[in-house]
Amino acid sequence: MNIAQQLINGLVLGSGYALIAIGWTVLLGAARLVNFAHGQLYMLGAFVAWAIMQKLGFSYYLAVPLAVLTVGLLGVLLQVMMLPLVMQQNLTSLMIVTLGFGYVFTGGASKIFGGDPQAFVSPLTAASIRFGDVWFTWADVVTLVGTLILFAVLWLVLNRTHTGAIVRSVAEDPKLAQLFGINAALVYIGVFVFECAAVAFGAGLVAPRSPILTSMGFDEVILTFVIVVLGGIGSVGGSLLAGFGLGMFTALFGALVSPAHTTAAAFFVLLAVLVLRPGGLAAK
C-alpha cells in the first residue's frame, strides 16, 4: 500500500466530508435546528447542476453556482413552510417533517431526472497532478482549499462580526433576542438557506467523483451525522477536524479492509465514541 497516496486520499475525502457537513454544523450550532433532508439536498444540488449542464448546455463553472442558488431558494421555501414549528423550537416535529421532505425530494427527483445513474462531469476531475507515485486531481485541490476558506470565513463571521453575534443570540434564546428587536424568523431562514446552499456547493465539488443517482444522499447524511456528533454539536472547528479524521479513517479502511462498508465502519466508530465519550470527542 502506498501510504502517501492514502494520506492524500484521506485529506481529500475529509475535506469533502467537512464541506458537506458544514451546513448542518451551523444549523445545529447557530440555530438549534435539524434537517434530516440534508442528504437529499446534496442529491438535488448535484442533479440540478447536472441538469443545467445537460439541458441548458452551460459550463460546469456556471452550473454549480446556479445549483447553489436554486437549492438556496428551495431552502427559503422549506423554511417558510416550517416556520411555525421553528419558532416553537419543536425539534421532534421538525425531524419528522424534514425526514418527510427528504423522501419527497427522492421521489420527485426520480420523477423529474429519471432513475438511471448519470455522469456529472467536472472539468476539474479530468485534470490530474502527479508527483512520483502520488496523484490527485484539480477537483481535489479546489475542494480542499475551498473547504478551508469556507470554514475560516464562517468562523470569522460567527465569532467576530455583528451578524454572527445576532445569529448566536438567537441560538442562545430566541425569545430574548426578539425582545431586543432581532427578527428571529429572518435569522432562522438565513441559517437554513446557508445550510441548503452549502450542501449544494459541496455536491457541486464532491459529487463529480462518482456517478450520481436520485437515490443517493444516505451515505452523505450519515457521514454528516458522524462529523457533527464527533466534532461536538455545532462546533465549526471541531467539525473540520472530525471531517479530516473521518476522511483519514475512511481512506485507510477502504484500502485495508473493504471499500463497500466504509459508511458502516464510520457508524461503528460513532457508536464506539458514544460509549466511551458520550459528549463527542470535543467534550471536556
Partner: protein, 132 residues
Amino acid sequence: MIKRHSTSFALALAGLAYFVPTAAGGAPAAYTACTTIAILAVMSYGADLILSYLGEVSLGHTVFWAAGGYAAALLSVNYGWNGWATAGGAIVVAIIFACLLGLATLRTREFVFSLVTYAAAVVAMEIAFNWS
C-alpha cells in the same frame, strides 16, 4: 364511561376486529389489508412506547423490523423452523439487536438520539443490501 371501562372496551374492539375481514367480504385482499394494518399498528405501538415513556424519537425502528424479518425468513427457510418457533426466534434476535444498539444510543438524548438511531437504520439497510 369509556375511560372507566377502557380495558373491556379495548378487548371488545379487539374481539370485533377478528370479524372485520369476514365482514369486508372475506376476499384474500381483505385479509392481506387487515394483516398489514395489524402489523403496522404493532410497529407504531413500539415506536410510541419509546416516544411516550422515554420522550425520545427513535428513527431506528426499521432495524428491529428488518432483524425480525430476516431472522424469521432465515430460520424458516434454512432451518425449517415452524411458525411459532420462527416468531420466537425473530423476537430474540430483535431483542439482542436492541440491547446492542441501546447500549450505545441510550447514552444520548434528544436529537442526537434520533440522529444516531436514524444512522443505525441507514447503516443496517446498507449491510443488508451488501449481504452475500
